[in-house]
Amino acid sequence: MKLVKVTIDGIRTEAEDRTPLVQVAQKIGVKIPTLCHHPLVEPYGVCRICTVEVHMRGRVRLVTACNYPVTDGIEVFTQTDRVRRTRKLILEWLLARCGHVPLLNTLAAEYGITEPRFGRGDDTCILCGLCVRVCSDVVGAHALGFFNRGTTRYVGTPYDEPSDRCIACGACVEVCPTGCITMDDEVEQIRGELPLGPMTAIYIPTMQAVPHQPVIDYDSCIHFKTDACRVCAAVCEAKAIDHGQQDRREEIQVGSIIVATGFQPVDPQKVPQYGFGRYPNVVTALQVEHMVNASGPTNGQVLLKDGSRPQSVGIIHCVGSRDKNTHEYCSRVCCMYSLKLAHLVHERSGAKVYNFYIDMRSAGKGYEEFYNHLLEEGCEFIRGRVAEVSDWAVTPAEQGKLVIRVEDTLAGLVRRIPVDMVVLSTGLEAREDADEVRRLFNMSCSSEGWFLERHPKLAPVSTFTDGVFIAGCAQGPKDIPDTVAQAGAAAAEALALIDTGQVELEAYTAWIDEERCSGCQICVPLCPFSAIEFSREKKVSTLNEALCKGCGTCVAACPSHAAQQHHFTDAQIMTEIEGVLVR
């Protein structure tokens, strides 16, 4: 790397040989106006607005800074009379084509132009070609191009037809300096929605993600559509982004496993009378949580779909919990998160907040105090299960509002409460794939799909498979403090097991008499702990006593008395029965 000495407006600096001048100027804080320049595409030198004066070995020249490579000893002037005169002329020419573009007019004002000499044209495209270059060089879609020559030159798609090469990435809209290119209304609407998920193709899954590293969404990333782009790799100073990475399956030998696969929120569409999916302002608690996040899509504001602030908000508790139609259990966390959201929504939007609850369950350290605090804050609490949310207005006051119909069981009457926004406090349910995970680890599930602990009081984080522990909502709904406590217990149990270095087995395991086994394989699929395998070589079933829990299923099913169980032999059982019957 060769360093050269450059002076810009009297400021001396050093830069790598042949760096574009505009970059060197930017680095030392000298402002040079640009229109057709963008750091991610090759310089083009077509708008000429970056014209500067270069003194080199006694020669004085006007050059465009965006594509002029610096050499040793040059002296640059960006604000001389000659430069300003030249830029003014260029601006006047640009205005003659695009007379009403705000950016050009702002620049023109800087250069003292009030009435351009050549008039004001009605076009908005200055033919800088940024869109064409970004579409080809960065995105790789090649959907845009220049057509015709001279005064009839214009930017467009082939035959002016909608291009099927366009992937609607919006890069051209993003880089266009004059705002000449816009998105179709429909596309704009999709982009304008406030998605709960990631909004870019490369993102960090959650702020608490471990490892705290971004991931690339293969399906959304432009690179995997056009083989181009890699803008993220270009801007990453650490050069950490590798688009060539492939999925890998890794086998890791471990001593024990903690299953903490969590839960999924109940789909609010399972409770259709609350209108989620039908009314845009019926949202889930998680969506509001996303909104009140200061770094979320609304910068912490609680907004309606049309972008305005709600005047009144109704929070419906127990959506998908304590209900025979969905789940009969209490999800435990909804009361407290609803109270938190009630507080935040009121604080952020000033809206009147109604809570519709069956019972308030605020057991926990400081929880009841928080509930009392909300009562004092003026939050409305209505005891009763909401019957329906509709937009059917009966009175003028309900016009344009969502009406919550509910039996107020404390007041003893049916009420209609008009609100702007309805928040559904959805419950927790076992993950869709819980049964697959259960089978993978030979665990049991309760009827609701939560993983079953070995004993609810004495072994709350152990499972029926030694070395496999459970923690968090995978075991049942619980809040964060409980989850953390349980995770600590599971970690300690796992550590204790690893630390001992050996495992004690129960003595009452089954065993297979290989001399007797005929290899009928009845027992193999029956074992709930996958302890039995069929040996193709010996043509008999073999039992791993370390995995066996002594449930006796194979012993009962073995038709040839080859599978037997320690402590529970047929002879012992028959003797016991005789003992009982013969007394």
Binding site: S518, G519, C520, I522, P525, T553, A557, P559, S560
Partner: protein, 325 residues
Amino acid sequence: MAEKPKVAFYWCASCGGCEEAVVDLEEQILKVVDAVDIVLWPVALDFKRRDIEAMPDQSIAVAFINGGIRMSEQEEWVHMLRKKARIVVAFGACAHLGGIPGLANLADRRRIFDTVYREVPTQEGQPGTFPQESSEPDGNRLALPAFWDEVKALDQVIDVDYYLPGCAPPPKLIWGAIEAILTGALPPKGAVLSPNKACCDDCPRKDSKPDKIELTEIKRPATHVADPDLCFLAQGFVCLGPATRSGCGNPCIEGNMPCRGCMGPMDDVFDQGAKFLSAFASILAPKTEAEIDRLLDQIPDPVGTFYRFSLPKSLLHRRRPGATV
């Protein structure tokens, strides 16, 4: 010439197939005749009861007794043979487990007599004329053996030393037993003289057995033709092979018939039918009670299917006396 060991063959409630099995030894029977002195064989040789009664106790080396014990006369005979013989071998499935005659334990004496002497359309003479243990037609007193309410296996009546299983016992096993007795290379008392492994062990279709069998339909040889190469259970046929002792050489399987269980259970199994049922229940595909019932309704004769040869030796022995059929 030293005296040859004395051998007796006797038959009780049986079909005669076991006698046939002895003849199936073919030319080896000549070796048997060379080596032993047959003192009793009602099917082939003329000996009378008084001949045996006259023999000193323990003078017969071995008595092969086939058939279940159904009548008083059979019980008298086997008690006498037990006294005269040093070794008693229960020969064939009926002596071993009660056998096909043992299925009569689903009825009692009265029910059987009603059917045979009163109800069947082929009945001749005066319907309802039952055999009498003692009668005096034309002034002559006649006696018939008493007919009991149930059939018993041999070891439920007398002490048995060894068992030769099968319906009928395969000649290979018979010859093996005779050889062992002649040479004195006998296993411990009470042994079944056949390998203690289930039929699946040497089944020619063993490799076609899937990892997991799930029955959605039950087929019968009467209604379906089995694939000649695939595991019967996997095809939906009730095959008792997994619960049945091997040693038979799989003639049924070779003939494309599923195992019916004649060789009896493995050592230490109390109840062959129950043992098979608990395995069978675990391979039924349906999960609800109604679906399971619908599947099991496809077995028209469950006792005759699962206890075809072993009802008298099952834990229940017989239908409760007096129960309606």
